[in-house]
Symmetry: C2
Subunit: 189 residues, 2 copies
DNA sequence: GTCTATAGCGCGATAGAC
DNA sequence: GTCTATCGCGCTATAGAC
């Protein structure tokens, strides 16, 4: 069974459509049509278009913030923590590539939960920054600008949703290893 | 004088608004209000909302494709070419951060010029890939997966529009050097 | 749980006065 | 070159039949 509930089907179908055109450009009629029903019928399962967006984004944001905290607070060294962060992003994106597009591009259309989302993202980024700063202090990482490092890593990891779907028969574990290598050791010979 | 023409003012004002909420969520009334006029008055300078988007995106896409071609075809070594690509992105983004947001996020809302945009982007990506592949063949770069390298570099460079505005009193040249270092040599000590 | 019908509103764009 | 007024349409969401 592909969907657990009709509500779940609405959310997943919407995520696919949101990825292509963004939240604002997708109509309730579009979502209904993709499911083979009429727009009015959607409201038997969800209370608004906004609720769909919130369901897609918030659970993903919570996952990232929670997992990042666990990684940051573990006893592993900084390089291992960074590898775990790469794996977290590759795995989560691989499991929900369409939701990741909304998380990245449609969060500003959240209404009631916008502040909560921003709080989650701030915690996640602060923990990520902490891992990098600890790596610099412990001389595992180069003594560079931690903001530039954070920016570079985060940009790449946040863009995974664009690239992973293009490589359909991808070996996830191999890709994670290759990406970690490029991000951590660079591309220079 | 901040704007050369009223049309130019419309385009730049729109880019700021598109960056915040995306093309679809911004109305002609929003744009007019930001300029202190009525929506109907906009049509004395532009023929449609679509034309505004096209003006923002196409000129930027042409700049990138053109400059990338020049870099790729130069006689410099691959590492230098990569540094020039980083500088191209930092400089262009620094000059037009709002337009870069549309280039990244709103291109799918192009209508008549969508195909042309996709052609430009393909040329640009192919040249970028060519620089990386030449670097691998010439043993300047590690013998890794060129697609993963391209993905990582491109993701970071395309996200510059999010980060550059946050560092207001940024030394552009210094930032370009730091970013090149992180992207090419990695962060591992 | 899905349907038809429609309320109420905001959209892009145009007409024509000034 | 900007305005007021408005057209025609599509939007989210609701009411109520089946």
């Amino acid at each position: 069974m592909k969907y657990e509930t009709r509500k779940d089907e609405i959310i997943q179908t919407s995520a696919v459509l949101f990825q292509k055109k963004g939240y604002s450009a997708v109509t309730m009629r579009d979502i209904a049509k993709a499911m083979g029903i009429k727009a009015a019928s959607l409201y038997n399962h969800i209370k608004s278009k906004q609720e769909i967006l919130s369901e897609i984004i918030i659970s993903l944001a919570e996952q990232f913030t929670e997992q990042m905290k666990i990684i940051k607070n573990s006893d592993d060294n900084s390089i291992d923590k960074l590898k775990q962060i790469v794996a977290l992003h590759v795995n989560t994106t691989s499991n929900n590539q369409f939701g990741m597009a909304s998380l990245n591009n449609d969060w500003m259309h959240l209404e009631a939960e916008l502040e909560y989302y921003l709080k989650l993202r701030k915690n996640y980024e602060n923990d990520f920054r902490g891992v990098i700063e600890e790596g610099i202090q412990g001389s595992e990482l180069i003594n560079g600008n931690p903001e530039v490092m954070l920016f570079s890593l985060l940009s790449t990891l946040r863009s995974l949703y664009i690239w992973l779907p293009k490589k359909e028969d991808l070996d996830i574990e191999k890709f994670t290893t290759e990406l970690s290598l490029v991000l951590i050791n660079g591309i220079n010979k």
